[in-house]
Amino acid sequence: MFGKTVIRSIWGSRSAAACYRRKYTESAVSAAHRQKEIIKSRYIEKDELRPLYMDFQATTPMDPRVLDAMLPYQVNYYGNPHSRTHAYGWESERAMEKARKQVADLIGADPREIVFTSGATESNNMSLKGVARFYRSKKKHIITTQIEHKCVLDSCRILEAEGFNITYLPVQSNGLIDLKQLEETIQPDTSLVSVMTVNNEIGVKQPVKEIGEICRSRSVFFHTDAAQAVGKIPINVTDWKIDLMSISGHKIYGPKGVGALYVRRRPRVRLEPIQSGGGQERGLRSGTVPTPLAVGLGAACEIAQQEMQYDHSRVSMLAKRLLQKIMSELPDVVVNGDPDQRYPGCINLSFAYVEGESLLMALKDVALSSGSACTSASLEPSYVLRAIGTDEDLAHSSIRFGIGRFTTEEEVDYTAEKCIRQVKRLREMSPLWEMVQEGIDLKSIKWTQH
């Protein structure tokens, strides 16, 4: 099975010749009638070349070193780590504890404070619902932001239905929250503040240290969804005064299906567990810990710690290269999110007068996305872009470029050139672009219905 589907992707020198061209459905941007073309899923044929992967915020490939660490536990050392009576259990438990230490070392925590979960979604659910429900009798207010991940917003919605009072803080146009506003919003009955460290759609880095100070001074628990930040920027939960943190395995070149939750012990954070059972993981998350996945997560964290500096400088260099190429050739391109307070590997660009879906279809041989993977099924523009106040038409034409550990200069160059060519081509076809070239201000036009 595997032999047939291992297809060599030979971009680089052979890119122009070997590319498989398809007929693009021509689409012109029209403000009056927005024809949304849904991108139909199509499987890659036998000898077809695979697209370039530039979507590292959606998921990342597993590092070969991580796979190497996991394989023995998938094949030979398959014991249940909670079996206390035989060697299979003991060796599996030893591997699990070693992985726990590796995860803890990456974030500056104690191994006893790490709980393995099935992913960042479960960790977010656990922290929000768990803290809220535990302190329900005295504290009924929770603060979060409008640009959080869907799982956080959905958990808050459920809590609202249970009778909690949630404040969704707005963000400024650069994607960062206003610290003064946060301070004013904290009430005596606030139990939790949840702000994500690095946003998955626009890549902005929130001022987590300052938020931690504010929360500690007002004795409010601080939860951060650090799925996109762990292993990419240095994090220390003690310096930043974080009480709860969600970690995702498949965003840091680890396996899918595993994550972790950091729960502070001093001062103790109490949670009401969502998953009941045999009391594993300090009673917070019952269920057998998947040893191979936990080992993979631990290995991924250790590798991330060693490679952080090299990866960060490389990703910054590639991001600067991509941005410079695109911005120098194309006018009217907007970078969504703060230019300085960001993780360089996540670039969200809005191309004015071009429709996002048609640009994605035109860039068929690069795997990109507009908006996050969990919202790509709907045709609405992303709520994150709406929260930072982008115009409706710019929000529809945004593309997210993800750069990671395995991206090469050739891939970035190819993506940039292809993007420039396709945007120019689509703009040629656009009547709005014609009007702008003639000097008409689009905002002054009164569109009529017919």
Binding site: P61, P64, D68, T408
Partner: protein, 93 residues
Amino acid sequence: MASCSRSHVISLYRMLMKESKKFPSYNFRTYALRRVKHGFRENQHVDNPRTLDMLLGQARESLALIKRQVRCPPPPLPAQPFCDAEDGVHWKQ
């Protein structure tokens, strides 16, 4: 020490590059080649023999890892029965 001699280091480097070229995936192949080159270049002026030993040990482990991984995914094995063919009852030892 003999194991830290220049020729030994260079032969280790060559072996690593040779094995890295065998990755079927473009991204892993380019990453391995780039990272190995960077790793050796970064540490070319290290003098302390203990550090050198540790670094060379890491390089050897990486070589073994790459050798294992370039064969991944493994070629499909012929279907192996869990139990002995004859009686269909006893586990294969």
